[in-house]
Structure formats: C-alpha cells, structure tokens
C-alpha cells in the first residue's frame, strides 16, 4: 500500500470515479444512491466487526484469497461495489474505503445535485413526515434530498437528522440528557 499522500489521494479518486461511473451507468441516480448506502453499511460493518476487518486485511492470505473472501462476504450488494471492494482487498487498500464513500457522497452532491440525509427516529416515518423532512433539508441544503431512514428506539422519541457535515439532534434522548445535566447542576 503506498504511503505518499498525493499518490493515495489519486488512488482514492480513481476508486471513487470508477465506482461512481459504474453505479451511474448501471442504475442512474438510484444506482449511485444504492451504492453509497450499501458502501456506508459495509464501512460500518467492517468497523463493528474486527474479525471481518482483520480477515480482509490479513497478510497471511494471498491477494486472490482476499478478493474471493470480499466477493463472498458482500455477495448480495451492488455488483460494481462488490467488484471495487474485491479489487481494493486484493491490492490491500481496503483502508481507503471510508474515504471512497466520502468521495461518492461528494460526487453525488456535485454531479447529481443529490444529498443523503440520515434520519433516525423511534418509530417509522410516514409519508407526511418524509415530505416535511425533505422540504426542510432541501430548503436549507439546496440539494435534492434522499432520506436514509433508521429506526432506533433508544433515542426515545423525536428525530436526528444528519448529513456528511451537519447534524440536527432533536431526539428526546438528548433532551432528557440535557435535563439530567441541568438537574445535577
């Protein structure tokens, strides 16, 4: 794996461009969106699973074995994404994947005028709330908005909205914690 910063940056840009074009050619805007969402899930999975992360980067495996392992693990994902991840695993460059995902999000925003907003709530959203959130985010961010919904009852209620750089935490959990801290003072 190269250590020169400019070389690394070039390689990440190459992976990003390759994946973006492959996803767009394959499924258009929806394909890119699907790839970004799946790539983010894969990054989270690798961060949360040390065995998987270790196996894909294990120097004891040959590059071909790592590529095969990656294809088998992420078999159900977008084919273009699986191919790129297998290539990165084969070349021992899976550590670049989070930055590739960031590049995809940037490309999506700049080239497709599209932005993903992660929305976490304690209950499923209905269409009315989805429209409301999209309008608010589109107005403020100036992009077409795609919601990446997630239900998490631990936030108790309310809503957490976040993009790559911004975040609105209007969850009841945060309100409760603020109240707890205020009561303790």
């Amino acid at each position: 794996m190269p250590t020169n910063r400019l070389v690394v940056k070039e390689q990440i840009a190459t992976y990003t461009q390759l994946l973006f074009e492959a996803a767009r050619n394959d499924g258009g805007q929806e394909g890119v969106l699907q790839v970004v969402v799946q790539a983010e899930e894969i990054v989270k999975a690798m961060r949360g699973n040390a065995d998987l992360d270790g196996a894909l980067k294990d120097p004891g495996y040959t590059p071909e074995q790592k590529a095969t392992l990656a294809r088998n693990v992420f078999e159900g994902a977008n084919p273009a994404l699986v191919s790129v991840i297998a290539l990165m695993a084969e070349r021992g460059e899976l550590d670049y994947l989070p930055r590739v995902v960031e590049g995809l999000v940037d490309n999506m925003a700049s080239k497709l005028n599209l932005m993903i907003v992660d929305v976490t709530t304690a209950v499923e959203l209905d269409d009315h709330l989805r429209d409301l959130i999209k309008k608010k985010a589109a107005t403020e961010l100036g992009k077409d908005i795609v919601l990446n919904e997630r239900v998490d009852k631990s936030i108790l209620g309310g809503i957490i909205m976040s993009t790559k750089d911004e975040r609105i935490d209007a969850s009841l959990l945060t309100q409760v914690e603020k109240t707890r801290e205020a009561l303790k003072k």
Binding site: L156, G158, R167, V176, R180
Partner: protein, 201 residues
C-alpha cells in the same frame, strides 16, 4: 637587739646611781632634836644628797633619758604606724566593703534584670505558644468546616444526581412506553418545525 642593749644600759645606770646613794653615809633619826628642826634637813645630809641627786639626775639625763625618749619615740612611731596601718586597713576595708556593696548591688540588679528578662521571655514564649495553639485550633476548625462543607456539597450533589437520574429514568420509561406511534410522529413533526438549521450545528 638594739632595744635590749638600751635596756641593759639603763639598768646599769640605775645600778650605778643606787650604788652611789648607798655609798653616802646616812644619819639615824634618834639624834634629831624637837620642834621645827625635826622637819628641816641638816646641811651635812642635805648637801651630799643634793650632790647625789644632781649626779643621778645628770647621769639619768645623760644616759637614761635618751634611751627612754628613744623608746617613747619608737613606741610612738610604732603606735602611729599601727594607727596608720589600721586607718589604711579601715580605708581599704571600707573601699572593699563599698566595692562589695557595689558588686552586690550590681549582682542584685543583674539578677533582677535576668529575672525580668526571663519573665519577659517566658511571657513572650507563653504568648507565642498560646497564639500558635489558637492558630492551629483555628486552622483545624477551618479545615473541618471546609471538609464538612465539601462533604455536605458532595452529599447534596449526589442526592441531586440521584434524584435527577431517577426522575429522568422514570420520564424516559414513561416516554418510551406510554407514547403511541401517532404521538411520536406528532413530536417528530413539531421538532422538525422547531428544530434549528443544519448550518447552525
């Protein structure tokens, strides 16, 4: 030694005069007549006695008196010297007495000063010890007060924390169990409308 010689000479003079007087013949009073003649000296007796007396007086004046006078002078000198020495001794004694008295007075003054100094030092030490004890007691009391205050604050803080935790936990459970999906969605909608901007965070 010289004095002994003079005494011997004086004795010799007396002996010679006595011998001379003894050598002159004396008349018996049985031949004396009555009346005034009984008390008047007879010339044949008076003249030899006068001569003997004069000779004795001359001898005594010539040899005895100087010795006697010398003895008197010596005695006088001795007495005077003794008196002088006595006077000097007296003066010396008085001087020594005065000196002793002065030394005694000095010693008394010094002793008084030492006692006064010791008393003063003792008072100062006592005052220092008292002040130090008071300071230490004050510091201990202040430390104890601060410790008690800290413990009190910690206890109150713990109590507040416990109350806050319990209250918030109860509220959390109530929220999570009592709110329906519709109520949750109503809250979400209100928060979306009231929540701040993305750019504000």
């Amino acid at each position: 030694m010289k004095c002994t010689n003079k005494a011997a000479k004086l004795s010799a003079v007396f002996a010679a005069a006595t011998a001379l007087a003894m050598a002159v013949p004396a008349y018996a009073f049985a031949d004396e007549g009555g009346g005034i003649e009984a008390i008047l000296p007879k010339m044949n007796e008076f003249i030899p006695m006068l001569v003997a007396f004069i000779i004795l007086w001359i001898i005594l004046a010539k040899f005895g008196w100087p010795i006697f006078d010398g003895m008197l002078v010596k005695r006088e000198n001795t007495i005077n010297e003794a008196l002088k020495k006595s006077e000097e001794a007296k003066i010396e004694a008085e001087r020594t007495l005065a000196e002793y008295q002065k030394q005694l007075a000095d010693a008394k003054a010094q002793a008084a000063k030492v006692i006064a100094d010791a008393k003063e030092t003792g008072e100062a030490v006592r005052a220092d010890i008292t002040k130090q004890a008071q300071d230490e007691a004050t510091a201990m009391i202040e430390k104890a007060r601060i410790a008690i205050e800290a413990e009190k604050k910690a206890a109150i803080s713990d109590l507040q924390g416990s109350i806050a935790d319990i209250s918030v936990d109860v509220a959390s459970r109530l929220i999570s169990t009592d709110l329906s999906d519709a109520e949750h969605r109503a809250i979400i909608e209100r928060y979306i409308n009231e929540a701040g901007s993305f750019h504000a965070n």
